[in-house]
Symmetry: C2
Subunit: 525 residues, 2 copies
Amino acid sequence: MHGLNHIGFKLSGENQKYLHSYSTEINTFLPGQFHIATNTEVEVSVNKATKAFKTFKNITYEQRALFLDEIAHQIINKEDELIERAMKESALSRNRILSERLRTVNQLKLYAGLLREGSWVEASIETENDIRKPVRKPDLRKMLHPIGPVVVFTASNFPLAYSTAGGDTVSALAAGNPVIIKAHESHLGTNEIVADAIITAAKNTGMPDGVFSSLIGNGNALGQELVMHPAIKAVGFTGSLSGGRALFNLAQNRKHPIPVFAEMGSINPVVLFPDELKTNLKKTVKNYVLSISLDVGQFCTNPGLIIGMRGKELDDFIRSISNSFKKLTSQTMLSENIWINYYSNRQKMLGQKGVKILTEGEGNEELKAKPTLAIADGRTFINNPHLSEEVFGPFSLIVICENSEELNQVATCLNGQLTTTIIASENDLINYRPIIQEFKENTGRLIFNGVPTGVEVCKAMHHGGPYPATTDSRFTAVGEDAIKRWVRPIAYQDCPQELLPEPLKNKNSQNIYRFVNGKLTRESL
Amino acid sequence: MHGLNHIGFKLSGENQKYLHSYSTEINTFLPGQFHIATNTEVEVSVNKATKAFKTFKNITYEQRALFLDEIAHQIINKEDELIERAMKESALSRNRILSERLRTVNQLKLYAGLLREGSWVEASIETENDIRKPVRKPDLRKMLHPIGPVVVFTASNFPLAYSTAGGDTVSALAAGNPVIIKAHESHLGTNEIVADAIITAAKNTGMPDGVFSSLIGNGNALGQELVMHPAIKAVGFTGSLSGGRALFNLAQNRKHPIPVFAEMGSINPVVLFPDELKTNLKKTVKNYVLSISLDVGQFCTNPGLIIGMRGKELDDFIRSISNSFKKLTSQTMLSENIWINYYSNRQKMLGQKGVKILTEGEGNEELKAKPTLAIADGRTFINNPHLSEEVFGPFSLIVICENSEELNQVATCLNGQLTTTIIASENDLINYRPIIQEFKENTGRLIFNGVPTGVEVCKAMHHGGPYPATTDSRFTAVGEDAIKRWVRPIAYQDCPQELLPEPLKNKNSQNIYRFVNGKLTRESL
């Protein structure tokens, strides 16, 4: 571990103040001391990004695609060094880290493919009408353009796929924006290895110095400095509601506000309907024991709220899931902070009037989370907004509604969610259709008879949702459309052919889909 | 004039406090006393909108299109009553008001057409892969959905096309959102006539009560109340930077922030290059005298800044435009406020060090604006940010740069703009290409050899730009894509066919374009 900041192509450690990376898995500090970035280093990285933007935005999409491909290649090249460090820093299993690396690499290739295909720029052309009265219709063409340097705050719970070379970084780079990473304090070594890979890839593919930087910082100071910098044009963040909201507030109060795409708190309600419970009790219980406890419940899509209607079917479900839950053992969490917050939020929840503990897993060791189910009735949930707060970790609250009216009321009082899951048979779908529609209102993804954990990376995915799930429900953090966060349209009026960007020229050289005079077509003009 | 608020289908005037509409044209109050909405009336209108949303979002696109068509029909039905009132309230010419009505009607039909065609929902489908290892790929489908009640603050300078039934209202309704209007204080009668037309159209086409409301309010109180209401999901605004920013700040500091699409201040730089000036001096001068003074310069795209390089060509331009400008006469402005602000901002500008008055039109009467050209050198402009502030009205500042380097510097220090215009010959385009690219960075629309006034309503238009031109550079206020401001994606995972919205079902009944497994197609599955 060199422990240095990546200020573009330069490794830099001006400061003699350090951070260290702690492994909850082996309960000790890991090798490496990481230089906290100085104000000068921050300033240089932003200036380099600003300068790099001038060339990076204008290179061909193929060149950008080659850069992304090469990042994937360089990450694979890091082999076990990366896997081992990520495992130690996250306490996640080898299989999980391997699958995350695969996802990271696949995301890079996905965006490389998107660039090569090219239609993502949403090119739109309306040709002139010189004889229109009373005024001529001008030639108008527009497409999406990159916006400038983007700051990415990496996720604690995805040391690879939503961190240094994760979804935010890659979609921002693909769009043509330089990226500055605020390295996550809990996986500084993993960050260093991946940042090294990105810098090597940038050099190998002729990218400008400053296209990527990675900075090390303590607490909030570095983040605030980056978000407030006038040259920064957008922010990506994955983390807690309080953290995301603080950055959002900062950015909105700038002289020139900038968008903050913060993916924050979601309790991902699961709604159980009686007929399906009767038919598929075992499968449902098995799925949910696994989904709640998977990777110590440390997912933004963890099912933190299970809602049903009082009756024999729900009783059977509760009994059965309790029995299975008891057999779970406590597992090591990502970081000490997350572990402390888990128990403090769990206690806060269990301390609410009308909330009772239902069952817990085994074990009670330091840094390990005990999987926990709590229970409350519908009225209690409706009357106390604290019951809608996220307990990040292997925790779920079961809410028992008296009847379908109360279930509907629960639906209307829910906060914005990343996902909502409906567990329902065909009969249930017929019997409870309006309630299901109501649950759709506050969610980004409506899942039927599945689990919310497991987010497919594809065009049709929406990983977003109304506040507080995210700060902007119109955009997704996962899948091809995540690129739309980092672009804005520019229109060209009566622009000479040679000054138009390639996708807007008469000749459709990349054979992309374009709206031409109202029709979607791949033909040249 | 009944002077009542439209609380959904109910006309209501609980308050005995009134506003009156003043005509700057005839310098007197116009008939009608307009009841200021009470808190109860505001609350009822929001509640009605919330309730109406439940049905309005679920009606067919054809029904929504019929509603929009019928609004157009009812507006035309108002005939001269509407035209006369709008003329008196705005002091704009009959021709201008007639063309604005045409634009309003055409916008309604444009969105009706968009709904009937249907592809605007951006449907995306990825079918399941049951045999994928290690985990099955689920069936995922997503499309854009309406977000809920929208508040629209109408524009002072477009009493029809960007007011009660204007671009914001119509795009929000087309998307499936109920709309609540804050009527503009300077054209309350025009608002009433158009609101009556919308309500008649809503009743005639079976729309739910609450799909549209129009409220009358004084100062900021009504606006604040609406923006802070938890049931309001987005805001559209056209007006001043201070007004837009105040609403934006309010909305971002809500417990649950909501988007504010504010179209605010732009000075729309025009960059003159020497070879084109030499060749087409007369045409350029004629175009710009007209563009600056058109409708008393009261356009968001008014060219408030003209930039060139010192030399004979620019000297000739300045001499020629000055001569033409002197012959202009003062014209009546939209409202007393706008007139007061015009002179106060003009004086502020003329009081800046290094800014000199170049020439003025004739006349100096109350409520009339004297067309004004001022002049400064490049260094002065670069060093004083006040010179980048908008003077709303027939005012333009000519900036003389010493050379192309200084011109480039001016480009880099510009604020975000709605438009930037390049006046350049083929030779100029070759000689100054990097400078032209630099001017692109801060603008929403780059125009070649034209004028910024005159905004085409079409798919390829982008009427937006980086802050302070707007609060969100990713969205347009004009053209089909304006609908994207009022929607968010929802994804459906493994959703039974009968619960999917029509555009996501296997059968592509509306024959729309959809992304199906990565390919754009109109085929059914």
